[in-house]
């Protein structure tokens, strides 16, 4: 079980929850279970969400493991120049 923090706007689509607990071993499972438990998040996940694991931002790595006790933070997927 990992605790996942959602950024402000995303929390509104997850029933106002800024922190949710999810049983997930990697980013792939995290996204799947988030979409199952909070259907409002699915369009955001489809558009692209970044996952910060202990401060390091991952954008495309579904297989990235979510260590127990790690800080998991969802962030908007940003554009760069």
């Amino acid at each position: 079980m990992v605790e996942v923090t959602l950024w402000g706007s995303l929390a509104a689509t997850a029933g106002g929850n800024s922190k949710v607990e999810i049983e997930a071993k990697d980013i792939r499972e995290l996204f799947r279970k988030l979409a199952e438990q909070y259907p409002g998040l699915e369009p955001w996940i489809d558009k692209g969400i970044a996952v910060a694991i202990d401060g390091t931002i991952y954008r495309d790595t579904w297989s990235k493991k979510l260590p127990q006790g790690a800080e998991i933070f969802l962030l908007p997927r940003l554009a760069g120049g």
């Binding site: 950024w7 706007s9 202990d54 390091t56 954008r59 790595t61 962030l75 760069g80 120049g81």
Partner: protein
């Protein structure tokens, strides 16, 4: 990804040296081929007809007269680019921006295009296209557009991100919020509070090379596109989707690039050129004029930002809050969201809240511009931080050091930081001789910090070893700042050979797997990771071949300093085999030797910079002169220090132009008044001092060599550093960018009036 990206702390031989770039001679002798330098037999000239109106319904387009003109081979409108976006709203916006469908949404919006045998005929044909417009009320100012009374640009847009779904449409497309703690409580603990509003005008990236491409659609349904871009794989995806093609049937080759800075991450002319070529059955070259680049490519946002920061007498910030409004052009974007994330990222804050509003205006569609959105937020925040330090009576550097984020700090945008470089850049600035240099009359010094995320992304690289022992490195990230040199250094380092033995190229989209764009400061970070991985795969094969040549077990062969070495007493008589000696025999030991890598380079590592600027202000005219400028930035590891310094200097130079001169000026009719470099003045050499740099190297733990991106962060602090310098020199707080002479003079005169 079968590759360990963790920092290894190795000692370097090639990395960190400063050889000449492989593309240098071609560029200084004019042989390098940019977007407009490619030509094909039978090529037509493409030209685009653009709306002269800021906001208008397209009632009717009659192209019949243009089509009849001798020499015209194709005329297209939106009807020739049908909507194939299948509900993808972002791609629909791209399509509509390439060619207006029902409404022209800004001065310069494309409404039709022609392909003709020469430029003169094409221009004549444009004049023969008859368009009936129904003019609509327009709005170009970000604050005006956000009002309930503003003309609506898209009545299907309802503000996202509000607690309750609004019942009325709005030009505000989205609200986003970040932060933690309780700002009201935090402000209650403050002894001093600074609260101010700031504005920044819209600017363009100002790349010297206009957008240019040649499209060639074949009758078999395949096509080629030669184009100046920051991301030819992304252009392939977008063009293929918009034209209803399979991606593999469109081959995109990137040219040399005369600047991009985020502005060449987006398609405008390319789908149009392909559609013209498809209709004409001939190659079409489409090159934007400078006027078109300003009016119809993708400048950055204009902004309006409110900042409030409170601190105790001892200099501890107790709360920080910002509301940021960013213009997006006429299509939804996430530019204020990025500003809201980056605004306070340099600081350790218990109570912080930022709210961003994305605002539609009748201006060109906003595109990324080097650390997009961060410079404007930093301008507002760092100006207020400077003012607060003064109010408390603290040195502005010491105030920032006291409040700087560090490893373990919860960032203002959410996650907790790992090892970061804001503290070291501030300490380096504090002890830099620049900070102690005397200032003359009417001169002021300012400093400011900046933050940028940096990205990685999908990356694919091929490394081929020729039979003469030379190495070809094919990468898929466009070289915008010297990355072919830095990636050659990385290949040389990993293989243990000389830099001169490696030749790096940017491969086309049919020759290599998909690569994300060169954006987010990812070029060297990502492709160096893939190059290291590819080189290690090649070394594995080199060891196998050496084992064959010696007829020993491969496990007994190690790779050291460019040579295979047989390990173990029983192989004591065997000498070393160089890469070249192994390559020469490759035809007999199993064929070509190559290493390939495909990976997602994540963990780019955030980046910080602190800048110092000295400015002289003429109090009678408001004219300014930059006297001295210093950039201090963390590079993780500078692979090629000269090009890292170049990125630092380039960001500062662009920032100086943005801060002091550059702005889009719209008339009351909603038309752009200064679409050219005479009236939109970017800095030239004579405007700038030599920009000093100091590279800090705090290794990124998520890269084998510790590399971080360096391309973007350097444009984040300049607006604020220069504003602080001008404010100190002029004796009045500057709150509106650009600080052009009339604006400075007006501020000085207003201050004089107020002081009377």
């Amino acid at each position: 990804m079968n590759f360990d990206p963790r920092f290894s702390g190795r000692k370097f031989t090639s990395v960190g040296t400063r050889p000449i770039r492989p593309d240098g001679i071609d560029k200084v002798t004019g042989r390098a081929r940019y977007g407009a330098d490619f030509n094909m037999a039978g090529q037509l000239v493409g030209r685009v007809l653009r709306s002269p109106h800021a906001h208008a319904r397209i009632v009717k387009i009659d192209t019949s007269k243009a089509e009849k003109l001798a020499g015209v081979k194709a005329v297209i409108t939106a009807a020739d680019l049908p909507d194939l976006t299948d509900g993808d709203a972002a791609m629909y916006d791209v399509l509509d921006n390439c060619m207006a469908r029902t409404k022209a949404l800004y001065d310069g919006h494309a409404v039709a295009a022609v392909a003709a045998i020469d430029a003169r005929t094409a221009r004549q044909a444009l004049k023969l296209i008859e368009i009936e417009y129904e003019l609509l009320p327009h709005v170009t100012d970000v604050d005006e557009a956000a009002k309930h009374t503003a003309p609506l640009i898209n009545d299907a847009i309802f503000t996202e991100g509000l607690e309750e779904k609004p019942v009325k449409p709005s030009n505000v497309t989205k609200r986003s919020q970040f932060g933690h703690g309780d700002v009201h409580q935090g402000f209650g603990q403050a002894d001093f509070i600074v609260e101010r509003s700031f504005k920044t005008e819209q600017t363009h990236q100002g790349y010297i090379e206009p957008h240019a491409c040649v499209a060639n659609f074949s009758s078999d349904g395949t096509a080629d596109l030669w184009v100046c871009t920051q991301g030819h794989f992304v252009y392939r995806q977008h063009c293929a989707q918009l034209l209803g093609m399979e991606a593999s049937k469109l081959r995109v080759t990137s040219s040399e690039i005369g600047g991009g800075f985020g502005g060449k991450t987006h398609v405008w002319a390319e789908p149009v050129a392909l559609a013209l070529s498809r209709k004409a059955g001939r190659p079409v070259k489409l090159v934007m004029t400078r006027d078109e680049v300003f009016r119809a490519s993708g400048p950055t946002s204009a902004t309006s930002i409110d900042v409030k920061i409170g601190a105790r007498k001892d200099g501890t910030i107790t709360a920080a809050e910002a509301t940021l409004r960013y213009s997006c052009g006429p299509y939804a974007g996430s530019w204020a969201e990025i500003g809201a994330m980056t605004a306070f990222a340099c600081y350790k804050l218990d109570n912080v809240k930022t709210v961003g509003y994305e605002v539609l205006v009748n201006r060109p569609k906003t595109a990324a511009y080097r650390a997009p959105s961060a410079p404007m937020a930093a301008f507002a925040v760092e100006s207020a931080v400077d003012e607060l330090a003064k109010k408390i009576g603290m040195d502005p550097v010491d105030f920032r050091i006291k409040n700087a984020a560090q490893e373990g700090t919860r960032s203002s945008y959410g996650p907790v930081y790992g090892p970061i470089g804001i503290g070291p850049t501030l300490e380096a600035v504090k002890s830099h001789p620049h900070m102690k240099a005397p200032l003359g009359k009417n001169q002021g010094r300012g400093m400011a910090c900046g933050f940028w995320f940096n990205f990685g992304g999908q990356t694919c690289t091929d490394l081929n070893i020729g039979m003469d022992g030379s190495v070809s490195l094919a990468v898929g990230t466009v070289d915008v700042g010297g990355s072919r040199a830095s990636l050659s250094l990385v290949a040389a380092e990993e293989l243990g050979i000389d830099y001169s033995q490696v030749k790096a190229i940017v491969a086309d989209t049919s020759s290599l797997g998909y690569n994300d764009m060169t954006d987010g400061s990812r070029g060297t970070f990502s492709s160096s990771m893939a190059t290291i991985s590819a080189a290690r795969n090649a070394i594995k094969i080199l060891r196998e071949r050496a084992a064959q040549m010696w007829d020993i077990a491969v496990d007994d062969v190690v790779w050291e300093k460019g040579h295979a070495i047989a390990r173990g007493e029983k192989h004591g008589n065997l000498g070393k085999l160089s890469l070249k000696e192994i390559a020469v025999e490759s035809g007999k030991t199993g064929g070509p030797i190559a290493g390939h890598s495909e990976l997602v380079a994540d963990g780019a590592g955030v980046s910080f910079a602190t800048h110092i600027c000295d400015i002289e202000v003429d109090p009678d005219t408001g004219a300014t002169r930059v006297i001295r400028y210093t950039v201090v930035q963390d590079a993780g590891k500078a692979v090629h220090p000269t090009y890292v310094e170049g990125q630092y200097q380039g960001g500062a130079a662009q920032g100086i132009g943005w801060a002091l001169n550059e702005e889009y000026i719209y008339g009351k009719d909603g038309r752009l008044q200064n679409a050219g470099f005479l009236d939109y003045r970017i800095p030239v050499c004579s405007d700038l001092p030599m920009i000093d740099t100091q590279i800090l190297e705090i290794p990124n733990p998520n890269h084998p060599y510790g590399v971080r991106g360096v391309g973007e962060t350097s444009i984040v602090p300049p607006l604020a550093a220069i504003a602080n310098a001008v404010s100190n020199a002029a004796g009045v707080r500057m709150t509106h960018i650009p600080m052009s002479p009339p604006r400075i003079l007006a501020a000085i005169e207003a201050e004089r009036e107020w002081s009377k």
